[in-house]
């Protein structure tokens, strides 16, 4: 966490008041060149930056809450991987779908989930996305095309494949992104689902977030070959991208989405990134020291948010003040989401007995 922060000599830190739970994002002093006039580009890129910062601040807050015993359950944080979710979802329409993983908060925020309803769900409150029934690993919002985070590694892969089949069979042109990790790339159902998607030419994009660790095992010690190549024998185009480069991720996804919408079938994207935190919060209790400080420092130096923001400033898309303002706004939004969650009541215990089955005809539920 804070220990791994790498401050570049001469870097400046935003003077805006920074809460104790958030780390300043490494930044160089950048003078903006002439502001560019391409409004759609400015809006898109500014929004991508905002979403990455939103995810960063949300996850930092969760780490802080967890350390203080204020967050129940198992929490797997997305810190350091923000560019993957944001780059992928920037290439999607609102009627496209995603399936997510145990490390899914970033995917959901990038797909449009609100911090308030997410935080309330993580607090087990009635105003959460799933009325407190799901928690971190089962957040679902079908209206946003979020088919669910998933507590089983690889569990969402066939579900997303099936959603793509359903949309295609029903004559829609929406696509489904299946997020999964390097760990899930070793599940049999990944290969089964790629094969099914290939023979049925389904509009699905398999996005592997290779963050270097399958739980606590270095990926290369449990994974043969290159993950991006795993669809090659099935005729599925695979590409490896820098998962810390949000525009590279977006561009690769746009190519895959175009292929899927054209009816040409699935693609595989392996986004190479790094998990800043452990597999789960609280792992210090048992996991020991399993990765070097050098490795962590090296990846933190490739910080996806600062890298993108600096590009935007250098390119005249935003100025430093805009970056600072976005950060302050998103930081405040995260604080507000905690207040929202804390003010939301717990569900009535009898809610535990609801929502098992849908009623056949009328609206009754049991």
């Amino acid at each position: 966490m804070r220990g791994g922060l790498l401050l570049v000599p001469g870097a400046h830190i935003s003077p805006a008041s920074v809460p104790a739970w958030s780390c300043p994002i490494r930044r160089k002093r950048n003078a903006m060149t002439t502001a560019i006039e391409d409004r759609p580009l400015v809006e898109r890129q500014t929004d991508m930056l905002r979403q990455m910062i939103r995810i960063r601040r949300f996850e930092e807050k969760l780490a802080w809450l967890f350390k203080r015993g204020q967050l129940p359950g198992f929490v797997h944080l997305y810190l350091g991987e923000e560019a993957v979710a944001v780059g992928v979802c920037a290439a999607l329409r609102s009627d496209d779908r995603i399936t997510s993983t145990h490390r899914g908060h970033g995917h959901l925020i990038a797909k449009g989930a609100t911090l308030d309803k997410m935080m309330a769900e993580l607090f087990g409150r009635i105003d959460g996305y799933c009325r407190g029934k799901g928690g971190s690993m089962h957040i679902v919002s079908f209206e946003l095309g979020i088919m669910g985070t998933n507590g089983i590694v690889g569990g969402g892969i066939p579900i997303g494949t099936g959603a793509a089949w359903g949309d295609k069979q029903l004559g829609r042109d929406s696509v489904t992104v299946v997020f999964f990790g390097d760990g899930a790339s070793n599940q049999g159902v990944f290969f089964e689902s790629m094969n099914l998607a290939a023979v049925w030419k389904l509009p699905v994009i398999f996005v592997c977030e290779n963050n270097g660790y399958s739980e606590w095992s270095p990926t290369e010690t449990v994974t043969a070959g290159k993950i991006a190549d795993r669809g090659t024998p099935m005729g599925i185009p695979g590409i490896q991208v820098d998962g810390n480069d949000v525009e590279a991720v977006r561009a690769a996804t746009e190519t895959a989405v175009a292929r899927a919408r054209a009816g040409d079938g699935p693609s595989l994207i392996e986004a190479r990134t790094y998990r800043w935190h452990g597999h789960n919060e609280g792992e210090e209790a048992f996991a020991g020291n399993y990765r070097s400080q050098e490795e962590q420092d090296e990846w933190r130096a490739r910080e996806p948010i600062a890298r993108f923001a600096e590009q935007l400033i250098a390119g005249g898309v935003i100025d430093q003040a805009t970056w600072d303002a976005i950060d302050a706004e998103e930081t405040r939004a995260v604080e507000d989401s905690v207040a929202f969650a804390e003010n939301s009541p717990f569900p009535d215990p009898e809610e535990a007995l609801l929502h098992l089955f849908a009623a056949a005809e009328n609206g009754d539920d049991k």
């Binding site: 799933c130 079908f142 998933n150 099936g162 689902s193």
Partner: protein, 336 residues
Amino acid sequence: MTVTQEDARQAEAKERPTYFVKAMQEGLAAAMREDDRVVIIGEDVDRSVIGATRGLSKEFGEMRVRNTPISEQAFVGAAVGAAAAGLRPVVDMMIGAFFYVSMDQLANQAAKLRYMSGGQVSLPITYFTATGPSGGGAAQHSENLHPMLMNVAGLKIVMPSTPYDAKGLMLSAIRDPNPVVYLQDHVLGGTRGHVPAESYTIPLGLADIKKKGTDVTVVAIGATVPKALKVAARLEAEGTSVEVIDPRTLAPLDMDTILASVARTGRLVVVDNARLTASAASEIVASVVQAGFDTLKSAPERVAWADVPVPFSAPLEKRVIVQEDDILAAIKRTLA
């Protein structure tokens, strides 16, 4: 009920003897005709080893009767995503024990997604399969998973014993907005019985009294229903009146009909086509003891398989699975 539903139907309907598997097919076809979103997938469903889907692709086309790879996890899970997207998938698992291969997607995903999401989505999926001992199917093709699946909240479980019920329950299963596991006991596939030509439904969660009686209640499941009826006929000749109840669906389970019967007869034998330990028979007996203890005149009996895998060789298989004499002996114990 004064007369059984089956009696009433036999009396008013013109006989139309139909094979059990053909009745299932009529239920499938009726569901497909009434709703374009009903799509069948599974391994070789156009040819159909068991027969329920054979020929359906001629009427409905290959996009609605669709062969899958031999990838149970993938297609059991794909049905979940497709149902959430708006299809009504019907999945032919071919053989019941193959559910084991797909258990994460069935028990962890299909059964739980609606609940975990706080009721945001309905998952109208029907998973059907031939199941249970078939005579030499051996250990990995003779399983009956209904007891295990009854303990997975979120799945409805259907197990018909007559062609009439097979058709009506198939249409109900497909119309139901929830995941339903429809189990066709292997050995019943070639049995015949009256099936009306028109489409009709049988509600899930409603037991049927297959034979009225006054001295002892026998609850029988799946392929043990015809065995229980034969035993009941033998005992009738000896002056003992046996009531035979088929739950037809195991989740939800119609305990009201069973408890009302036991209240009349005072005696209970439950026959299951599965291993004894933690069987459906165990659950039914426990529920009757808990809710109807005062109505019992003797200790209830369970009749089920020995707690071993189903072996291959005929005398071995016979030793393990339920025989008519086992049912007879259990009934006599309750009358002793």
